[in-house]
Amino acid sequence: MQNDRMTFMDQAEQLKETLCGIPAGTWNGQYISQLDQTIRRDPTYQKYLPEIEKEAPFRGEGAPFLTVLTRTQGRRPQMLRETLLTLCGQSDGDFEVLLVGHKVDAEQRASIEEIIDEQPDWMRRKIRFITVDTGNRTAPLNLGFARARGSYIAILDDDDIVFDHWVEELHRAAGEHPGMTLHAYVIAQGWKAVKTPSGEAAPRAAETPVGQYCKDFSMPDQLYLNNCPTCGLAFPAYAFQRLGVVFDETLTTTEDWDFLMRTVFLTGLWDIRETTSMYRLWRNAESSVTVHRKKEWEKNHRYIREKFANSYILFPPQANRELASTETSILGQRAKIQKELSRYFFCSLFFDLGEGLSLEDSMVEAAMFEQERFKVKFPIPEDFAGAKGIRFDPGEKGFLILKDVKVTLELESGEKRVLTLGDGGVHNGYSFAEGLLFVWRDPWVMWPCDIPAGLETVTVTGAINDDLSLQDLKILRGIIPRLALQNLRNRLHGKK
């Protein structure tokens, strides 16, 4: 291992020689210095070095091409069975499966072992099961990458499913572009968990599959947001095992994005333009999206972006072309997004669970305008146990007219209940013939009534006019107080 570092350092020294005359403070000088400070320096990497070395005799000749790393808590046995089944269906069998049980108790461990025992013997021989009892989501990943024997490593969650050519396409691409991180297209589909008569939950595909992740990797986009579900990726093992790019164990979410990008900064990436796996979006079951709080996601996002912002990053020509083109340049995109965003507004739904309204019991969705009309659907969590009231907030800014607002409550039983303003709706706007005018910030409409358990969705429809003119003000004269009218007039004249 030490030799690897020496080889790398020799190369770096040679490069410095080649760049002789360029001071250390230049971009190139600093890039080399950054590599020097990064490669194999991470204390987390040092922690996993013994694990990496433990498997060294099993790597190289005779080792599988791919290690499929699946972390599991043993809580979704049906899903894990299905993940392994889709691996049985691979046209290319040159892989091993490394199941990493994370914080599993005796019962969960037994359940995982039973699932392994249920596999055909040729599949069972491919599976290794190890456990880790410490750390967060990143610990099983670091341990798995350290213990992997394949020259490439792919992460499959214990609810991911793959098409028959998933390994085959990765293998082909690795042969053609050795050493690069690989990225294949991923189809996304909404799924639900349903309870079967035996009491066990089973997955049920619920929506048309969509190709939002069936596109090439974009370096500029990826610096802002992760568009690559892990089931479409395969990482060259050397990046972790020899260069020391490890998962950041301080991250509680989005660790895959951070790891992907830091690996790609060193290895580059090759796109496989084939749809080889499916990312299941759980609509009523637990996933990392539901387990972690929004604020936690945002905090981790900021932290990762900050890391990228402080790095010298090598951009391939394709990314530079993207940045320089009129269509995809940052300024061009910004203008396009502004235009697109103007068609949306974000609205919220609150429930009064008997202790008043709180952000904890709220949800936010984006609604799209279509000639002032909007329709927004809020999926309700499965554990919703009823409420004493419901409140709809049409955005945060005031200065808008809301018309024909209608709230449809759809219960699991199929029963529907409709609430309009006439059904005891109260609000903080001004009522007039056309609808409700909200002058001040944080507009809301509330229905203090019993909302039953078993609520599946809440759909709100109506029309919003947030582009008020002086003409509109004439209609409102005499309906709303003079002070509010004056405020509106000032806004329309551009006064503070």
Binding site: T86, I161, P197, P203, T208, G211
Partner: protein, 299 residues
């Protein structure tokens, strides 16, 4: 004394490696069932070969028999003609002495608990067919999430009482070659008073792929044969209005495969080779704009 199960598939120029993998998964599922509950006294696996030349040599058949002898009896028949799936499955299943038949595509792989989960719904006497769930692409047709009842079972993989299969004379192979034979059999099962249960706890791997837009990618042959089969269904299940619409759609589609499907249907009609229509009161048959039951999503 437990029940007996026959797993059967019609093969057509399939890759030997894939077939052996599928047999090994069936044998494994038998092993798992025996270890867990041992409700099945005998498993057999019967493959019918509709290829031009045999896929397996006698030596290879012997080797497969030997390899899986602990769990199932393997039998291989070379038909010597292209039977299509409907006739081939009948040849394999109508003379079977097993209690249940598992009829499946040869490229389908069973999960370890397959037999355990598939047998469960048969505890109800009025269940005629239990259908497995395909993965990674689940079929979009609807099923009742309380009762798991569904209106038809796909031929990719289902289990049926063999007595019922015999009672219904199996698939209507005089009418259907490959497509819609499963819908037709399912509807006749329901017409006979039996239920079809979808078993989401029994996933089977079926090597289907989706395009980058999430759509099926049917071959030209599939387009032609499924168009013809759709018209045969409309005729057989007494829906002349829908048949007329289909003919109009296919003939004016501008798609050569659909036009050929329509031409072949009209030829059968002209030759008097269409089956006698059944279910005139539409007790089970439903034609919902090209679908045979509601779908949860478009694919």
């Amino acid at each position: 004394m437990g029940v007996s199960i026959q797993v059967q598939s019609v093969i057509y120029n399939n890759d030997k490696k894939d077939l052996i993998k599928a047999i090994s998964c069936a044998a494994n599922a038998a092993r798992v069932e025996r270890g867990a509950q041992c409700a099945v006294s005998r498993y057999s696996c019967r493959y019918g070969d509709a290829s031009e030349t045999p896929v397996f040599t006698p030596e290879e058949v012997e080797e497969i028999r030997r390899q899986f002898a602990d769990t199932l009896d393997f039998e291989y028949t070379f038909f010597g003609f292209n039977s299509g799936s409907a006739r081939g499955e009948n040849l394999l299943g109508l003379d079977s002495d097993a209690d249940y038949l598992v009829i499946m595509n040869p490229d389908v792989l069973m999960q370890g608990r397959f037999f355990i989960e598939m047998l469960q719904p048969f505890a109800q006497a009025d269940v005629g067919i239990v259908e497995a769930r395909q993965t990674p692409v689940e079929h979009p047709k609807e099923y009742n999430i309380q009762t798991m009842e569904t209106e038809w079972a796909t031929g990719a993989c289902f289990m049926i009482h063999s007595a019922l299969f015999r009672q219904l004379k199996g698939f209507d192979s005089d009418t259907f070659f490959m497509y819609c034979d499963d819908v037709d059999l399912s509807w006749r099962v329901r017409l006979a008073g039996y239920k079809i249960i979808y078993q989401p706890l029994a996933p089977v791997f079926h090597a289907k792929r989706l395009s980058a837009k999430g759509a099926w990618m049917p071959s030209p042959l599939e387009m032609r044969d499924s168009a013809k089969a759709a018209m045969l269904m409309a005729h057989k299940w007494s829906n002349p209005e829908w048949l007329a619409r289909l003919l109009d759609i296919y003939q004016n589609s501008g798609v050569p495969e659909y036009q050929e499907g329509a031409r072949q249907f009209l030829q059968l009609q002209a030759e008097g080779k269409l089956p006698a229509p059944i279910d005139p009161e539409h007790r089970v048959a439903r034609f919902l704009e090209g679908l045979y039951t509601e779908h949860r999503f478009a694919l």
